[in-house]
Symmetry: C2
């Protein structure tokens, strides 16, 4: 059973059926990137309708126990997440309200600096700002997982050290394996390990590189090297797979409303559009190759279980509570 | 005739009558601190009603020519301003719309870091962020004055250098005269001079200090020392006077919705509440003492006119256009 720390895009009944077929037990979905508070409520409400219409395949999870029960019922658990804490619109008291509505994972910054801290794509990173500290306190208290994937390295380090609960890098890879602004330096990953958190290894080609995209085994070698940095208890999967994305979706994801110009996000200038999926991960159901691949590159069954789901479940249990 | 680069608080008919009596020809008013886009429209709309109800005393100005015409009609011109560019809510295209509605001056950040840049009260200042550059481009294009008063020193320097139009520090003093996070270092003021901008000297006791609050002449000596740093063409008045503020107003100004804790803003811990006005500036009409005080400390009539109104008018003319 696999837990995927991050997917995004337009999920359909077919997506959910594929997740079932591939034995994916839990996915953190992206309910928003740049949306404000009301738009984020709209998105959450639409997700509720979508899940209700597919209640035979998926259900919303609020706790680790929920995930286990949903998996036992033969369905896939979905954790509600957002990739930008600006959805609170500077209102510290909204953290509790979104938590009460079932939101379980929020990234402090998306691609731009915000009132919480610096992003990986800014020239300079201020570190964790005053309001960012307040939000982490509230997320800790309300049982929300702090996601640092797109956050700048300095703010990531500050947040790891500041948080009283384990935090996550739900979808990124080690910068020492594939150098990219979106990936994380070894010192940040070591700090994450000391914090008890998890890094979810990504399959998004722009931040993985062609070499690790050739075969599932190659990609699992990257996971094995990540384990060498983070330790066996601190690595999970966070594919960053996007479903049914078209150009308007990429434009929104990258430019939002913050520029009239063109921003390429994680893409190299040589390939500005959609990045092809890994050669081994063309259909969503190919995700099932990961657990086999982890065994092939030498992980024991216990270790495979930790990477596939156990490490995420431990963090979810600790952060979400009962 | 005096131009005041910044006032805030609850203006009433009595406030407007006092401004007339003291020969204040133009005031930039604060329509918001932490408000979002719709709340900022609400505030602007309320200001329109207030101005309409007092059309014999005040009128909205959109250009320097408007200011001259309103003054010639025996009234006080009001420039619509906000102290936080987060009112755009990350939407670059709203700059043009707020400009079209008559907004003429916006501060890039208020007391906290935001998506544009760093604030003077943060531990670290990132400098001007990606979106901050986009907003300055738009403000330049749409005829809005960039205000840097509460902005961190590094972001202030970046913005001064980045802006193609003169910018303003509407309400602050030189840090070399009264050290305070809200005040500006000499190198920033020198860069402002080279940019063609203006610093408006403030009378707010927390950032002015008791010594310069004793008499109007003492305060005008501070202005004279500011002129030594910035040059005679780059100093104006920006009192930061607040009208009819009570504790809930200060709480909003300082804490907004970003913290459940207590933040003191510019106040020292020894005096957390409202700072007393300068000894010489108890009634709003005492503002008329400034022009006399400037003559007393040795400025020629031409120099007094530059500080009192000419420097602001020059910048407004350049930035707002026709």
């Amino acid at each position: 059973m696999l837990i995927d720390g991050l997917q995004c895009g337009h999920f359909t009944r077919e997506t959910f059926a594929d997740l079932r077929q591939a034995d994916v037990g839990c996915v953190t979905v992206t309910c928003g990137f740049w949306e404000d508070a009301v738009e984020s409520l709209d998105s959450l409400a639409k997700w509720r309708d979508l899940i209700a219409a597919n209640a035979d395949l998926v259900a919303t999870a609020r706790t680790a126990a929920d995930i286990r029960a949903i998996v036992a019922s033969g369905r896939t658990a979905l954790l509600m997440g957002y990739q930008n804490a600006e959805l609170f619109q500077g209102r510290i008291r909204l953290v509790e309200l979104f938590a009460e509505l079932g939101v379980r994972c929020i990234q402090l910054t998306y691609n731009n600096q915000n009132s919480l801290g610096g992003s990986c794509y800014e020239d300079e990173d201020s570190g964790l700002a005053r309001y960012g500290r307040q939000v982490i306190d509230e997320m800790n208290r309300c049982g929300m997982l702090v996601d640092l994937s797109h956050v700048g390295n300095r703010t990531t380090m500050d947040a790891i050290r500041y948080s009283k609960k384990p935090v996550a890098i739900t979808h990124a890879n080690p910068d020492s394996l594939f150098p990219h602004k979106r990936n994380k330096t070894d010192d940040v990953i070591a700090a994450l390990r000391d914090n008890g958190g998890v890094i979810g290894c990504a399959t998004y080609r722009n931040i993985t590189g062609d070499e690790y995209c050739r075969t599932a085994e190659k990609w699992c070698e990257m996971v094995a090297r990540t384990v060498e940095i983070a330790g066996i208890d601190h690595v999970g999967i966070g594919t960053d797979r996007s479903h049914n994305f078209t150009k308007p979706d990429y434009d929104w994801m990258r430019m939002g409303r913050w520029t009239r110009g063109v921003d390429l996000g994680a893409s190299p200038a040589s390939r500005p559009g959609k990045a092809p999926p890994p050669d081994w991960f063309v259909a969503l159901t190919d995700i099932a190759l990961i657990e086999k691949g982890l065994a092939t590159v030498g992980f024991s069954p216990d270790e495979v279980a930790k990477i596939a789901n156990g490490n995420w479940l431990r963090v979810y249990e600790d952060v979400f509570g009962g």
